[in-house]
């Protein structure tokens, strides 16, 4: 074959496609998908609650709301704290970011602790009828997300000590913080469904 005609090459403006920078798109797509699994659980909860011949197990007459409410307030406000941390990072106040971020983690951990206390004081178990199963399934699955969120925040905190970590942007922190807001919104729905709608 003959060599490439140089004239043809000259007219040509090669395109470039960057390899990175898709992380946020991918992550948002993932979160949309993840939210559907919660929606499915919520729908299942609603259907079973409306149709089950016996909803609450014998000897149980509802859930205590005060403790979970405090827990919810902590979790929901931690979303704002996380946002605050992002603002600090944006302003390149690294130490302040770390402190506020750590506070978010602490609030998340408090939530998990509160959930643990609540679970251990309940008089019904996973196998106590439809309600018992759904209660532990939903709160447990959400709790797993909270734990994941706290662990991811820990990872981001750890990485913030790496020199030059933010040269390429703050994608990691932004994604984790988005995840955290997601976990919070889900909790609000879950709280309404399980505790408010009794």
């Amino acid at each position: 074959m003959t060599a490439v005609n140089p004239e043809v090459q000259l007219n040509h403006t090669p395109g470039h496609v960057k390899h990175d920078g898709h992380n946020m798109t991918g992550f948002v797509i993932f979160l949309c998908s993840e939210s559907v699994i919660f929606l499915a659980f919520f729908a299942g909860y609603a259907v079973l609650k409306l149709t089950a011949p016996q909803w609450l197990p014998d000897g149980v007459d509802g859930l205590e709301v005060r403790m979970p409410l405090i827990n919810s307030v902590v979790l929901v406000s931690s979303s704002f704290v996380a946002y605050g941390a992002e603002v600090c990072l944006h302003a390149r106040k690294l130490w302040r970011f770390r402190a506020v971020w750590l506070l978010t983690m602490a609030m998340g951990s408090y939530f998990i602790y509160g959930q643990y206390v609540e679970w251990s004081e309940l008089s019904f178990s996973l196998s106590s009828g439809v309600f018992g199963g759904l209660f532990y399934l939903l709160t447990g699955f959400h709790g797993l997300h909270v734990i994941t969120g706290v662990l991811l925040m820990g990872l981001m905190l750890f990485r913030s000590f790496k020199p030059g970590n933010y040269d390429k942007g703050e994608m990691g922190v932004a994604s984790v913080s988005l995840f955290w807001h997601f976990v919070d919104v889900i909790w609000i729905l879950l709280f309404l469904l399980i505790y408010v709608w009794q």
């Binding site: 490439v4 005609n5 090459q9 403006t13 395109g15 898709h22 797509i29 699994i37």
Partner: protein, 562 residues
């Protein structure tokens, strides 16, 4: 041989080329190149087509005579359950992901997928859940036996009381497969949204990319509920909950909703890419632009949307209230509209075209023919009074095999032959290909056409023994099935021998229009590398004479030099 239409000087003596198995080791490694992963997916799934096919041979062997004589009825239950599961989760889903990997990046001019490592991880989950699923055969009490839909209360039976039992492993495998598919879907959608070549607006994308996108959207929305349902089923089976256990206040029909909310759309996850393959191939082999390109593109998302709101048509006979039946009958019939748009677009493309009947085109035409037939039986089944009669009979088996094998399977074979030269750098043998097609077409027709009659006469599905009045249809069906088994021989021969030592393939043996055909065969790592072309026209400009990209000549020459 009938390989014509390209410069015979290029048909050099066989010598190793980069796609050939001489550096086969990379196919066994954690490689992140989408083209390697694509081939990994395809070869793995073809292996499982053989496994699933073997199970089907035993099932059909049993059904060739009315009494249950070949295998025990309880073994039979395990066989068809595993057959269906293997075919869906280890053959069709992975093979289409193989196509996605090969075609999406090359068709949109991207160097690779958006997340190459995630891509490789998603693939390597396939052997993992394949092992788990195959492990089901060795579990105490035998494999999962409650059908591929695993309805409770059947799927909650665990008479031997082992924690690890066939059904347990089955659920685990399905959940892992869901995770792998979600990882894939995130990757494909991100790639399509973010990595198209300059100038490639949405309405310059090839239809395959449209359909892949529409299909992966279904995965993203549908798989989570299925996984949720599977988790709940697992809890019921192993951890003492009673979500779906009627004796504990649960609702078995709720599981059916979870299951079909995904599994109806899932058939569109499978068939949409095949619509894409049809839309790519008909214009090439008819030498005409795709008729109604924009409508075909948009219809893909029409199907995605409608497929989400029809699931209860699988539940017409399981206690679904009448008002719900009517709604779902209506929505199901609506889906014929976007599907019809596509069928007419293909017929319009073929109309007065200059048809070239090579193996890929034959498989496409056969697939289209079968699909029209399957569409008719589908609309019959969507009609509540008919479905109440033939639901759960052999008629249903016949219908869905007409879709799942006679359409989707055919489309997959068409795609394999069509893109084989591109990604292996070798031509396949046309003669063997035609033998494969003829055997497959006759075998498939003989296998499933008679079952329609058996079903209409009332033969139930999922039974090892049946009334002798159905014998004739089943004998025909079994002969067809064994023919399909035989058809795999020319196929395997063709693939192995042409990949190893077939004639070297030119970059564009079919004179096709599309970015992938501007690359060398096989394409180098990173595809266009730093010279990504700028797209200037709509795809499928056959006979219109205008270039697809700026400086097309440069790319053509470069692909020839490689």
């Amino acid at each position: 041989m009938t390989i014509t239409n390209y410069d015979p000087r290029i048909l050099k003596a066989p010598h190793p080329v980069p796609g050939a198995p001489d550096n086969w080791k990379r196919f066994f490694s954690f490689n992140t190149d989408a083209k390697v992963i694509g081939i990994q997916y395809i070869v793995t799934s073809l292996f499982f087509l053989l496994v699933g096919g073997l199970l089907a041979m035993i099932v059909r062997g049993e059904l060739i005579t009315p009494p249950a004589d070949l295998v025990d009825p309880s073994v039979y239950n395990g066989l068809y359950t595993m057959h269906g599961t293997v075919m869906l989760f280890l053959f069709l889903f992975p093979i289409l992901n193989g196509f996605n990997n090969l075609l999406i990046p090359t068709m949109i001019g991207a160097p690779d997928m958006a997340f190459p490592k995630l891509n490789a991880a998603a693939f390597w989950l396939v052997p993992v859940f394949a092992t788990v699923l195959m492990g089901s055969f060795f579990a105490p009490g035998g494999p999962a036996s409650s059908g591929w839909w695993s309805y409770p209360p059947m799927s909650l039976q665990n008479p031997l009381g082992h924690f690890i039992n066939g059904q347990f492993l089955w659920i685990l495998a399905v959940a892992l497969s869901g995770i792998s598919s979600i990882m894939g879907a995130v990757n494909f959608v991100t790639t399509i949204i973010r990595m198209r070549a300059p100038g490639m607006g949405f309405f310059k994308m090839p239809i395959f990319v449209w359909t892949a996108w529409a299909a992966q959207t279904i995965q993203l929305i549908g798989l989570p509920p299925l996984t949720g349902g599977a988790v709940m089923l697992l809890f019921d089976l192993s951890f003492g909950t009673s979500f779906f256990r009627p004796e504990g206040g649960g609702d078995p029909v709720l599981f059916q909703h979870f299951f079909w909310f995904y599994s109806h759309p899932a058939v569109y996850v499978l068939v949409l890419p095949v619509f894409g393959i049809f839309s790519e191939l008909f214009p090439v082999y008819a030498r005409k632009p795709l008729f109604g390109y924009k409508f075909v593109a948009i219809a893909s998302f029409g199907i995605t949307f409608l497929s989400m709101i029809v699931w209860a048509h699988h539940m017409f006979y399981t206690g679904t209230p009448n008002w719900m039946r009517h709604i779902f009958m209506f929505t199901t019939m609506l889906i014929a509209v976007p599907t019809g748009v596509k069928v007419f677009a293909w017929l319009g493309t073929l109309w007065q075209g200059n048809l070239r009947l090579n193996t890929p085109m034959l498989f496409c035409l056969g697939g289209l023919f079968n699909f029209i037939f399957a569409g008719i039986t589908g609309v019959m089944l969507a009609t509540v009074p008919i479905d109440i009669h033939v639901g759960n009979t052999a008629f249903v088996v016949a219908h869905f095999h007409y879709v799942i094998f006679n359409t989707i399977g055919f489309g997959v074979f068409a795609g394999i032959y069509h893109w084989f030269p591109k990604f292996t750098g070798r031509m396949y043998y046309e003669g063997l290909g035609k033998v494969h097609f003829v055997l497959t077409f006759i075998g498939a027709t003989l296998n499933w056409l008679p079952l329609h009659w058996a079903g209409l006469l009332g033969m139930p599905r999922r039974v090892a023994s049946y009334d002798p009045e159905f014998a004739i249809w089943n004998v025909l069906g079994s002969i067809g099935a064994f023919m399909l088994g035989v058809a795999s021989i020319p196929f395997i021969l063709n693939m192995v021998s042409s990949w190893a030592r077939g004639p070297q393939a030119p970059p564009n043996p079919w004179r096709a229009i599309g970015l992938e055909w501007l690359l060398p065969s096989p394409p180098p790592a990173e595809n266009f590398q730093d010279d990504i072309p700028t797209v200037i026209s709509e795809p499928y400009g056959y006979g219109l004479g205008h270039p697809l990209v700026e400086d097309e000549e440069f790319y053509v020459r470069r692909s020839l030099e490689a």
